[in-house]
Amino acid sequence: MATLKIKNLEKKFNQTEVLKGINLEINDGDFLVLLGPSGCGKSTLLNTIAGLENSDNGEIIIDSQKVNDMEPSERDIAFVFQSYALYPAMNVEENIVFGLKQRKISKDKINESLNRIVELLKITELLKRKPAQLSGGQRQRVAMGRALVRDPKIFLFDEPLSNLDAKLRIEMRREIKKLHKNFKTTMVYVTHDQTEAMSLGTKIAIMNNGKIEQFDTPNNIYNKPNSIFVADFVGSPSMNFISGYIKKDENVISFFPDNEKQKSINLNLIKTKVNNSDEILLGIRPEHIFLKKEHAVRVTKDHNFAEIEVNPELHEYIGHEQIVTFNYYGQEILGKFSSSINIEIDKKMTLFVDLNSVSLFDKETKRRI
Amino acid sequence: MEWLKKNLPKIVVAPSFAVLLWFVYGFIAWTFYVSLTNSKLLPNYEFWGIHQYIRLWQMPRWHVAVENLFIFTILFIILCIFIGVILSIFLDQKIRSEGFLKTIYLYPMALSFIVTGTAWKWILNPTMGIEKFVNQLGFENFQFDWLVTPGMSIYTIVIAGVWQSSGFIMAIFLAGLRSIDDEVIKAAKVDGASTISIYMKIVLPMMRPVFMSAIVILVHLSIKSYDLVIALTAGGPGISSDMPAVFMTKMAFGRSEIGLASASAIMMFATVSAIIVPYLYSELRREQDVK
């Protein structure tokens, strides 16, 4: 049960800066997900919080206590590793209680904690087995048990599900979510999987190149991405970006896509600060594009939608959905629709875009406008 | 206490590191310095320039040793690699008795060079060995007396050395063959390549690093070769099968010429370094690339 505050954290490996001034603050019971591509510094940040690596600058504060100079074992944290990091020569029981034994806790208390965890994770029959005799999912469970048994202030997870197969990953994801719901412990979780991040986090920090691009709730991250990087990283398929410029005369704000002088999109109803001839990218998520006008009317209510003429070029069937690639004046746009709808390839058609859900980005700064 | 905890890993390595610095690098430095002095029975620390090196390279005996090393190294490498490649490729053809054959090919590696030399000395014995056996088969005039013929005795060292080490080279190549991605070979088979051209054009070129390692190991072994020469020919007849390692110990402990002996040791060290340093460099580069 703890709060975590990180102030201006910096770290270098040799000459390369891996953390360039990280600032974060989460409350007791928050589930913070650090999300980003590989090499963005998210694992380094987690290791630094744990004390497994030292920072060069900045502060890490757990429950109003600065922990920078404390050993990992003194910080009262628990860590679940990607490879599970079970001690190969010890059986499951010994693995789980090893940390308690190091802390010279009485035998009775150790047994009590062990029983609690064994019951919680339902691993009674595994206790005497060695890690090599466990399946991937079982190892994952034991690794969780080893963290839970300590009842720490903060749980740290480093891509704990990435070595599991797809089905097991979803199961374990749900279990982690349940654990968080039941115990309300502060958690910090590193992943490169956006679905994991969205489903688990109460707060998400998207990292890129040693910096935090956006630190927000999952909802805001998805619907109000701060930058092209965030918009592109979250969502599958990713957001469409239509390149073009703004024309502003009198009270009419219009967006002209590149290669098109006649047909524009009217942006009047969007509360935005754009200037005439601004070069921008118009971001639209594939699920905010509709095939039928009624749909657009029903979703937007205020009739804030645009009609665009496109040519369907490719059609990918993925079970309950289909993804269609359209050509819009030479730019590619993806749309996501129910697979029950039939779309004829290479037959020009009109699409309806929900303008309440679009994001505008400055082409130069790549930031949200 | 805190300091101790933080520096424990360094403190633990420190004694070994100190030993390494003193007994390896310090000693090499000492030997190098003594090679620049006129030391005879005892070291004399008065600087004498490169006279010992000049003396060394003017000695016919050193030239014999270097020449022998050259002959030995070349033949040793060619024969070991030839045998190693052939045996490893043949063993790679899904042979059922592979384990048994490997055990036989490799056991000489468990024997010391002294044992190896003793055995071959008996087999190559000019009157009682192979020669006698062939004579008894009916070839009365057959002669095989390389062991006691100046100019030929060096080849007996090659024979025994190849016998001892070629199985090991086979093992290295076999490990290399086994680590090659199966899919490349499958692709070649789909393309219609014959077994021979698969090996010649695809597999062996992919084994370049293994060839490199094998050559480095063999050169290293041959420069260090001392025991085998002592056991088989003791450098004889005369000095005809001397090698630098033998030369060095004879000068140091027989002739009390420790300045000269040090100069020859430094020559050996320089030769090994010239091969090992680039090799280690490329190996470490490769290791880093993998990461």
């Binding site: - | 070291p43 093992a171 290295i172 050996m268």
Partner: protein, 285 residues
Amino acid sequence: MLNKINFSRIFLFLILGLFVFYYITPLYVMIVTSLKSMNEIREGNLFSLPSTINFDAWKIAWGGRGEGTSDTFLKPYFFNSLKITIPALIISTLLGAINGYALTKWKFKGANLIFLLFLFGTFIPYQAILLPMARTLGFLGISNSPIGLILVHSVYGLGFTTLFFRNYYVSISDEIVKAAKVDGAGFFKIFFTILLPISLPILVVTIIFQFTQIWNDFLFGVTFSFGEHAPIQVALNNMVLTSASVKYYNVDMAAAIMAALPTLVIYILAGNYFIKGLTAGSVKG
């Protein structure tokens, strides 16, 4: 097609068989010679089998003829070698293990450079250190003693053992050590309770490698010891090189087999570990 396959298969086995013959012959010659009497050796040839199995040569090679001082036989030297080999291999293996652990799992500044220096140290020709070593042993008053040779073998084995353990521990996930740190274990606790119990394979490889190296050593033995303190390889060489007018080839061969027996037995019992050690000891990095 079938014929062609059969033909190449036969050729394959022919060549492989030929090499079996090549490698096995010297051992065969050693064994049969050691079992013959000198008369039989003079009359027969290298490959002829002994008429009766006769262990006299073995007895003489091991325990001598009982002819007083000029008599050389292996028994005392065999135990000399054991006295040197076992302590030296224990010391170098233990130090190598802890070095390998510290250099990989507690990477400090300069750890890589230190490893590189160890690695390079395994390649040096020993001629470059013989003279200063002889003086050092003299200075310490341990030349021509088992202690001296134990020191020499421990020191020059250290590079190899460090290398073996370093390469083994590099392949073990760092996360295990991190997990133990979070759990509150320290440097030695992690080594002894977590890493050492899973180090058996590399421990066996290292011990076999060191045993073979030290047992088979001749250069250090002949340089730093003489007379009754010599190790077995030196004694064997002295026996064979004896200046006596009559050569006893059967005794020489029996002695050679005896000197080779410990390493041969290890090779036969643990061949895979043996080969792994050799490969790791030469194909570095």
